[in-house]
């Protein structure tokens, strides 16, 4: 591209040649701004680096076997992640299937069944607006609807339902994209063989789009795993010295335990919090790697 930009525009060639050229100045300005833009990129990457290095140096010392086998404690060196770790696993095991079924179901309806009418537009607009609602407002909904009105109490299931509604828009949108990527020829071939709509969806469209759907779902769950505010709202306890036994049990999760430790004035607790953050980030890293792996391994280009 650079060769092309050597030309100037105004006047006839002779006029242009006789006029003093402003090109060096403009090229210099171009290089200057290029540097500024690149600096912005470096700044962002540097911030990420500082954040990660800072967390690791602060927390690595507190990572030992005890961290995973102990419950929370008043003594920083004995405090552990056992309850929140198990709580987070429970939470994901409940949120995953609920949000998957609801999200994929909605996406199938919108992409495969819905007619282009006002009701469909309403659902679609509604979903994009839900995606922009602050998570703390979902917490208020969960507190009122699940905890109080449906008297689920401050239980795992109340938390999981709140989380499912929170990540629903993400799953719907990514599943819709995956379904849309299935070429019409595949469906037409299926119909030509005499298959019904549902048979076509179940045996042709879904198998072809399942990598995309799974990737979207895992990424949505990795958003849920770090969400703190909605679960604080529904009253996930911060001090729990027992493991959840059923979906009606009280619980705590990783980000809430981290929040609790961060809020304490003692420096030692901040170190344990950093250790908890490392564990949380590793969990996120694993989930994202699985998502990327599924995408690369199974996704077919049509």
């Amino acid at each position: 591209m650079k060769e092309v930009s050597q030309e100037n525009t105004s006047g006839t060639p002779t006029e242009y040649l006789s006029a003093p050229s402003n090109l060096p100045k403009r090229e210099w300005k171009n290089r200057l701004f290029r540097t500024i833009f690149a600096t912005a990129v470096i700044f962002s990457l540097l911030m990420l680096l500082i954040l990660i290095i800072r967390i690791i140096t602060q927390g690595i010392g507190s990572i030992d076997w005890q961290l995973f086998t102990n419950f929370a404690s008043r003594h920083p060196d004995e405090a552990g992640l056992k309850a929140p770790l198990i709580g987070t696993i429970w939470m994901m095991a409940l949120t995953g299937p609920i949000s998957f079924v609801l999200g994929v179901g909605t996406a199938i309806y919108l992409e495969e069944y819905a007619k282009p009418n006002r009701f469909t537009t309403l659902i679609q607009t509604n979903i994009s607006n839900l995606a922009g609602v602050p998570s703390v407002v979902f917490g208020l909904l969960g507190l009122t609807l699940f905890v109080r009105e449906l008297s689920m109490g401050r239980s795992l299931i109340a938390g999981a339902l709140t989380m499912s509604l929170l990540i629903l828009p993400i799953i719907v949108v990514s599943s819709q994209e995956a379904l849309r990527a299935v070429p019409a020829e595949l469906k037409q071939a299926s119909y030509a063989m005499g298959a019904t709509t549902w048979q076509t969806i179940f045996k042709v469209v879904l198998p072809a789009s399942v990598p995309g759907i799974l990737t979207g779902t895992i990424l949505a769950l990795s958003r849920a795993i770090g969400e703190t505010a909605p679960l604080i709202m529904i009253g996930a306890l911060t001090y729990i010295a027992f493991l959840p036994e059923s979906i009606m049990s009280q619980f705590t999760v990783m980000p809430i335990q981290i929040f609790n430790w961060t809020n304490r004035p003692q420096e030692e607790f901040h170190m344990v919090a950093a250790a908890g953050i490392i564990v949380l980030l590793v969990m996120l890293l694993v989930m994202n790697s699985i998502a990327v792996w599924i995408r690369n391994k199974f996704q077919r280009r049509f």
Binding site: V101, L130, V137, P255
Partner: protein
């Protein structure tokens, strides 16, 4: 096909006929099941609006709406409580403004670099790394703001309180950079290559192409990305809860604590408010205000990107 496959095909047809009932049933019920799933998303919105509305109405039966909107004091826990939303709004918008001062210039510069200057290979390396920045849980940013950024800032600004508006604002800005960058870059990448080539052919430098051709053509998408980011900043909760402190704003002093709407909601639900008290209902009134602001901004963003889009 060999002969011995024929009976099996006949059998298949017979099997098909006998399964027809089941197939028909699936054909009829599946769309309904999926419709129910789709309706749940609508019910969620209704649920949010109705919950907020009901509890807010209860709140306004105890506190006058005029006081809520006009009083300049927010002291719900005093024996003679004041419920004026203004200090919370001030806190929310101040922190969001600080975040935008960081996120908009940096995010836009990153977007221009990625869309106009970077090679394909560079773009494909940098983008996923920036996405990591957006995927880190907000509680981690809150921790970072409180235990790293605030102490660093304190060494520069001596009067800075432990809980202040500046530090969470800056950290929130860093968190939002990828959002501005990614949405703006999408808008700029959508500008047709032929327009750039036309400008290059006329002798424009890369900077001139970026700022005078691509930027104006993508402006609606870029502005929409700003509006969405502001909405995100207003709704952000954990960073301000951890690092912003719990006292309502006393003027524009960003070196002291300025409670945001989100931080107030979390603080009260952590146990300060008993069920059924006026304070308890106040979190819904604040939640309603927050919901309205973010909803209006999201709709505004959609409107801008639709209404002012340049079609090529």
């Amino acid at each position: 096909m060999s002969d011995n496959e024929r009976p099996s095909i006949r059998k298949m047809i017979e099997d098909k006929a006998s399964q027809k009932g089941a197939t028909n049933a699936a054909e009829k019920t599946m769309p309904k099941l999926f419709l129910i799933c789709a309706i749940i998303s609508i019910l969620t919105t209704f649920g949010i609006v109705l919950t907020l509305l009901f509890e807010t109405v209860t709140f306004f039966s105890e506190v006058s709406i005029v006081e809520f909107l006009t009083s300049s004091e927010w002291y719900p826990m005093f024996s003679d409580p004041d419920y004026g939303i203004r200090p919370l709004l001030l806190g929310t918008f101040t922190v969001a403004a600080i975040a935008m001062v960081v996120a908009i210039p940096v995010g836009l510069a990153v977007a221009i670099y990625l869309s106009e200057y970077a090679s394909d290979k560079k773009r494909r390396t940098i983008k996923p790394i920036l996405e990591v920045l957006a995927g880190i849980p907000t509680i981690v940013y809150g921790f970072f703001a409180l235990t790293f950024v605030t102490p660093v800032l304190q060494s520069v600004i001596p009067g800075l309180a432990i809980y202040n508006a500046l530090s969470p604002g800056l950290v929130m800005g860093i968190m939002i950079i990828p959002m501005v960058a990614s949405l703006s870059e999408d808008a700029m990448s959508a500008v047709p290559q032929s327009m750039r080539e036309g400008a290059f052919a006329l002798g424009a430098t890369r900077l001139e192409v970026s700022l005078k051709v691509v930027f104006p053509a993508a402006l609606s998408g870029i502005i929409a990305s700003f509006v969405l980011s502001i909405s995100r900043a207003i709704g952000e909760t954990m960073i301000v809860t951890v690092a912003g402190g719990g006292s309502p704003a006393q003027g524009f002093d960003i070196t002291s604590s300025m409670q945001t709407m989100t931080a107030y909601i979390v603080q009260m639900s952590l146990g300060d408010a008993g069920f059924g008290t006026t304070v308890y209902y106040s979190i819904y009134a604040v939640g309603m205000t927050l919901f309205i602001f973010t909803l209006v901004m999201n709709i505004l963003a959609q409107f801008i990107s639709k209404r002012f889009r340049e079609e090529y």
